[in-house]
């Protein structure tokens, strides 16, 4: 359920609207459910709506943990 993908905000296009990019594919999306978005932020996109901001620091942390778990196996 709930197909959603991380997309990058590449422009703020109007109140509650932004242009988002994923792998070179762009679409205008609704960002009215989030406050304080900036160009360069990543958001979780679902049915044309940004549901949450993606926290880069947390993402890096998760990756680090994964790599650490994996490293134990090498």
């Amino acid at each position: 359920m709930c197909l959603a993908v991380p997309v990058e905000v590449v422009a703020l296009t109007g109140p509650g609207r932004a242009l988002a990019d994923m792998g070179g594919v762009r679409r205008e999306i609704d960002v009215s459910l989030l406050d304080g978005l900036e160009v360069g932020d990543f958001v979780i996109l679902h049915v044309g709506f940004a549901l949450q901001k993606l926290d880069r620091v947390e993402a890096e942390k998760t990756l680090a943990i994964l790599q650490q778990m994996a490293a134990q196996q090498q």
């Binding site: 993908v5 991380p6 990543f42 993606l54 926290d55």
Partner: protein, 376 residues
């Protein structure tokens, strides 16, 4: 693709899998339910079962909105779509779902009903403006993820004074269904050991929403992203909790899930919707307080209010084992309808409806084996 590809690294995945093999106690069986159909989809798309130890079993839950939608509700949508003034719109997933007598929205469209596929609910606004003489009905389905966009649709229609738009609301609530799964029926024991919690639902409702499950049922919940590494990490976290006899809510998808989710979205949803006292989930049956309806203040946008809808009795196949499958009590192939006659092309129960359904996934994954057995 940033924040996607890195979580699909095959080499890391194999190392993680080895980690899980080491973690898993050969003396016990781990039955972990991925509640969400998106997880089921990922499990099979990436072929994860092949990587896992035999005693770490993934049980597929009811988290696919089109699967659990009761046939009655689909029949109401079909009924609406046949009204000449109505343009019925919904998501692509919904169009192929079979109702009774081989009907579906796609077939109704072939028969002349005006049915449109939407990518985003806001397109319904455009349709309503383009066709002022028609009635646009948005057939809304989905979990907490999809609910805020529907709320925005109603809000916009209200602001713009659009009067020829309404919503047939079928939004359902994840924790209520998890609660039902964990509540044993007479003679049953709870058949799962822990939940892989849905990442995207949780971006809205937050990780706090799962607190009751460890507390009340003693089952751990790990919210997991949808990439294969996310899933493997979450499985490892669950195995770890179970090994340690813990039951906590953990958040593997911390990159987008916070304890309280998206408060702005939750406020908006709260403003537009209220809980139904009970709602039927296809496969699970009636689940108390498990779905939303439009509040009386917004009744003019409620298709259930605007149109007189009949409520035919849904008759599920009496031999369908979906209730047991969705509770993890039975495997799909333990249903005597599985394979013949129940197949993805001819689904007889909720779990066979979409490729994310437990039976459909099992069917596809095990089809080779099944067909071989049938020949013997």
């Amino acid at each position: 693709m940033k924040y996607v590809d890195v979580f699909r690294d095959a080499e890391l995945a194999h190392q993680l899998a080895r980690h899980i093999h080491q973690q898993a106690d050969p003396g016990r069986h781990y039955r972990l339910m991925e509640f969400c159909g998106g997880h089921t989809h990922a499990v099979f798309r990436y072929g994860l079962p092949a990587l896992l130890p035999d005693n770490v079993e993934l049980v597929h839950g009811p988290g696919c909105p089109v699967c659990v939608l009761p046939v009655v509700r689909l029949e109401q949508a079909l009924e609406l779509s046949r009204l000449p003034e109505v343009i019925l719109c919904s998501y692509g997933d919904m169009l192929r779902v079979p109702a009774g007598k081989g009907q579906s929205l796609l077939k109704a469209r072939a028969d002349g009903a005006d049915i449109r596929m939407l990518y985003s609910p806001l397109e319904a606004l455009t349709l309503a403006q383009q066709h002022p003489e028609r009635q646009v009905v948005f057939f809304a389905i989905g979990f907490e993820t999809t609910t805020p966009p529907t709320a925005v649709l109603i809000q916009r229609a209200d602001e713009m004074g659009i009067s020829n738009l309404s919503v047939l609301c079928n939004h359902v609530l994840t924790p209520a269904a998890m609660h039902a799964i964990l509540t044993p029926r007479e003679g049953e024991a709870t058949a799962i050991d822990g939940f892989i919690g849905p990442a995207h639902v949780s971006t809205v409702i937050g990780s706090e929403a799962y607190a009751p499950f460890p507390r009340q049922f003693g089952k751990p919940v790990v919210i997991a992203g949808f990439e294969p590494l996310d899933l493997l990490q979450a499985i490892s976290m669950l195995v770890g909790q179970l090994n340690r006899h813990e039951a906590r809510v953990e958040n593997q998808f911390s990159r987008a899930v916070t304890p309280d989710g998206n408060p702005k979205a939750r406020v908006l949803v709260e403003r537009m919707f209220e809980r139904r006292s009970s709602f039927e989930w296809r496969g699970l049956g009636e689940v108390p307080a498990s779905a939303l309806k439009i509040r009386p203040e917004y009744a003019r946008y409620d298709a259930e209010q605007r149109f007189e809808l009949s409520a035919p009795r849904a008759r599920e196949h009496p031999a369908c084992e979906c209730p047991a499958v969705l509770r993890g009590q039975k495997r799909p192939d333990q249903c005597r309808l599985f394979g013949t006659p129940c197949t993805p092309d001819n689904p007889l129960g909720a779990c066979m409806v979409s490729s994310e359904g437990a039976c459909a996934a099992w069917y596809r994954y095990n089809r080779g084996r099944i067909a071989m057995q049938e020949r013997e």
